[in-house]
């Protein structure tokens, strides 16, 4: 058990006239407490998730029949574009990095706050206007060129909406750069002196890798988008082919950011996995170093694979081959993580809490998504399935299975710490069952659709694909319904749930050494690290410490 032995009194909350606890309205202010900011990020992200989810259900309803008979095709494209954008830029990234990162990193390393609390608040407050701008763009028709916004299409459709879309992404991009800077400094400079680097929780390693990646790649996206904005509004012609511009250049700029962006989404989730699995399996994480280094390896190799999104575009043969190889190589560090988690389960005493169910669900779905990804990484096969439903199936396995499941696992795991109350396990399990079934039903058949010849981003399709599309739409309805028990559970438990003890899962990382929810400034006396974060089963730990709910 990590202990609070040596009193190490630093300037505590009372010295600075801070209140003891925050009131509800503090969450609507420019608050600089990392926990408040974390919760602000999470709640906002969930709101956007709901909106994005409704868009998805509307799209699947349209796709129930082969003709575009429910929605206008341009409106379909606007929904499709904004669904993708919301899910990536306003759901996964803010929830996983902003939400979990802010709430957890200082707690995991024994710090009182992030390095730059005001910067942190600014980073968060860029998000709501970005989301508002994105949704307001629907008043002008909505951006219709997909979340990739390839010119020349993005230069010719719904110009005002497209400009709003760009500004919105630039805002979230700025937010993530500021956030990333803050994480790097916080992790490098602020961990308690008693924590060795090999005792740094894996979630922090993941956030560190993510932040480095964000710092390197986000500016490139911003540059590409600003050039696009100029082309739309100020008569420049960077990407206008008839005036000497180059449309493929945009794709390079875009994917140089957006490929790493998929790791931005998944690395923090991998971090969550590495925290959740050992606790509920009651075993040390298998291969701590390998998992930590593989995050860094993914971060580095991930910067050299972007062209695999452009195999069918204007890319010469050598690029197709070079990027096939580099893409395939990323599969190795990813595999190392998967095997590490499976080996962590092996020989454990697995508790099937809702958090653990989602973590295992993620593991099993990421295997499918990952194998699909390897096939897509090879140029000869990608030539067949690029821009088809095979890709849509693949990335939803990775993004829904790989990210959403991880975020849910994290919520069930840390809810007691965040709110001081337990979530209902029974409703958690119902939520899991519906989500798991719904995900497979929606996204597995899509692989077949793509292989057989259905392109993506279409509101109308060949009638021969109707039966399989019915399956996908049913699945989407199940998925839509699956969110209901979760939201009810979260809201209800927040108010009326069983009070949580400080350490309901009997975990060893530092956040569990303070009260639930943690006080402002986290600890009265900073904790002292006496054992590693995953030392389950080592020495004679106090056996009486079974989960307790006071």
């Amino acid at each position: 058990m990590t202990q609070l032995e040596t009193p190490q009194v630093t300037d505590s909350a009372t010295d600075r006239n801070l209140p003891k606890v925050w009131k509800w309205y503090d969450y609507f202010t420019f608050n600089t407490d990392h926990k408040v900011i974390g919760i602000q990020y999470l709640v906002t992200a969930f709101a956007f998730y709901l909106i994005g989810g409704l868009m998805a259900v509307a799209m699947r309803a349209e796709l129930y029949t082969p003709d575009a008979d429910l929605l206008d095709p341009n409106f379909y494209n606007a929904l499709m574009t904004n669904h993708g954008t919301l899910m990536i830029f306003l759901w996964i990234v803010p929830a996983a990095i902003g939400g979990f990162g802010n709430f957890l990193v200082p707690l995991l390393i024994g710090a009182r706050d992030m390095a730059f609390p005001k910067l942190n608040a600014i980073a968060f407050w860029l998000n709501p206007p970005a989301g508002a701008l994105l949704l307001a763009s629907f008043l002008f028709g909505g951006a219709q060129s997909g979340w990739t916004a390839y010119p020349p299409l993005s230069l010719t459709t719904a110009n005002t909406a497209q400009s709003m879309w760009i500004l919105s992404i630039v805002l979230v991009g700025t937010s993530s750069i500021l956030g990333a800077l803050n994480f790097v400094v916080t992790i490098l400079k602020m961990k308690v002196p008693s924590m060795k680097w090999t005792q740094l929780p894996l979630f922090c390693w993941a956030i560190l890798a993510t932040s480095v990646l964000a710092l390197l790649s986000t500016p490139v996206l911003a540059a590409g988008l600003v050039l696009l904005l100029f082309d739309i509004n100020f008569g420049t012609s960077f990407f206008k082919p008839d005036a000497g511009g180059n449309v493929v250049l945009y794709q390079h700029l875009f994917w140089f950011y957006s490929h790493p962006a998929v790791y931005l989404m998944i690395l923090p989730i991998f971090g969550i996995m590495s925290e959740v699995i050992p606790v509920h399996a009651r075993k040390p994480i298998f291969g701590y170093k390998a998992i930590a280094y593989s995050s860094l390896a993914i971060c580095i190799v991930g910067l050299f694979v972007w062209v695999h999104h452009m195999f069918t575009s204007g890319t010469p043969a050598w690029m197709r081959m070079f990027f096939t190889i580099s893409t395939l190589i990323v599969a190795v560090p990813t595999g190392v993580k998967i095997f590490g988690w499976v080996a962590t389960l092996w020989g454990g005493k697995i508790r099937f809490t809702s958090a653990m169910l989602f973590a295992i669900g993620l593991l099993s779905m990421f295997v499918v998504g990952g194998l699909g990804g390897v096939t897509l990484g090879t140029a000869p096969f990608d030539l067949h399935v690029h821009d088809t439903y095979y890709v849509v199936g693949h990335f939803h396995y990775v993004l829904f299975g790989g990210s959403v499941f991880g975020i849910y696992a994290g919520i069930y795991h840390w809810f007691p710490k965040i709110t001081g109350r337990m979530m209902s396990e029974m409703w958690g399990k119902i939520h899991f069952a519906l989500t798991f079934i719904g995900t497979h039903l929606t996204f597995l058949p899509m692989h077949l659709l793509g292989l057989q010849g259905m392109p993506r981003r279409v509101a109308m399709y060949d009638p021969q694909f109707a039966p399989i599309n019915h399956l996908c739409t049913f699945g989407a309805i199940v998925l839509g319904i699956s969110a209901i028990p979760f939201f009810l559970n979260a809201v209800w438990s927040w108010h009326y749930g069983v009070k949580a003890s400080d350490n309901p899962w009997d975990a060893l990382t530092l956040e569990w050494t303070t009260s639930s929810p943690p006080p402002i400034e986290n600890w009265v006396e900073l904790p002292v690290v006496t054992c590693g974060p995953y030392d389950y089963g080592s020495r004679d730990r106090n056996i009486a410490e079974i989960p307790q709910t006071a």
Binding site: D72, P241, M321, I325, V336, G348, T375, P455, G537
Partner: protein
């Protein structure tokens, strides 16, 4: 169960996994029919990946299943699992094996891609000509007929929301692509407005039509029939309806089509 040594069980499981994976790799019939010389190359490659993927899937999911059954928490047991922090040889093994698999797949894909005509080979003097530079984007002549001109050249242009096929030498402009079976066809693909993408699922070939840049697809159709041409790059509201067909004729039939459609 207790009597059977674990190594035998592992061996049996290994053999089963191998057999199932090989079978799935050969009999998945996930892909549509093959109608070009490139299609079998892609399909064989796909089937190899399916076999490997099935094996990995079975092993990893099997391990997950076994652990959640075998190592579940029993009521009343409040202790921890075994204190195992890692196993260096095992970790090396599961880094090296996937490493070998992906390098192998990488080499295999370069090979398939070359066979498909993706890499213009340069053993003929003609290849040195500057014109050939431009043709490096897309699928070009097969290694077997490198440097030889195609027997039919068609200019394809994509526009919102139709494909136009221009048989320059024959003075034909059509909304559908017509070729003869066994004919060495070269498509010069361009776009008038936004990016489109030319895909014939039965050919397993796809290439973007990019405004301001010509790209290429060279193929030999191997089976007569009518196959869909699908636009796979989002090109506007009616992107989904940007469909046409390629008709693969028997040679005599194709000549008749040429005659009937030639503008005098």
């Amino acid at each position: 169960m207790k009597q059977i040594p674990i190594s035998i069980l592992t061996l049996i499981a290994g053999i089963l996994v191998t057999l199932i994976s090989l079978w799935v790799g050969q009999n998945n019939s996930l892909l549509p029919e093959q109608a070009s010389i490139q299609a079998p190359l892609v399909d064989n490659f796909f089937n190899v990946m399916v076999a490997i993927g099935t094996a990995l899937f079975l092993v990893v999911q099997g391990a997950i299943l076994v652990s959640i059954i075998q190592f579940r928490h029993r009521r009343g047991d409040s202790g921890d699992g075994q204190w195992i922090e890692g196993n260096f040889p095992l970790e090396i093994l599961w880094t090296v094996i996937p490493g070998i698999i992906v390098i192998g797949l990488g080499i295999y894909s370069v090979d398939v891609y070359t066979e498909m005509g993706g890499i213009a080979t340069t053993h003929h003097a003609v290849q040195a000509m500057p014109v050939q530079r431009d043709s490096s984007i897309g699928i070009n002549s097969l290694p077997t007929n490198a440097g030889e001109p195609a027997s039919l050249v068609v200019d394809v242009s994509g526009m919102q929301y139709a494909w136009l096929f221009n048989y320059r030498d024959r003075n034909i402009v059509a909304g559908e692509l017509h070729v003869a079976v066994g004919q060495d066809v070269l498509l010069n693909i361009s776009a008038n407005d936004v990016i489109h993408s030319f895909w014939v699922p039965q050919f397993r070939l796809k290439q973007d039509a990019i405004p301001g840049q010509t790209t290429h697809l060279r193929f030999v159709a191997t089976k007569t029939g009518t196959y869909p041409i699908i636009c796979t790059e989002l090109c506007g509201g009616y992107h989904g309806s940007m469909r046409s067909s390629v008709v693969v004729h028997a040679p005599e039939e194709f000549d008749r089509w040429l005659e009937e459609n030639q503008v005098a």
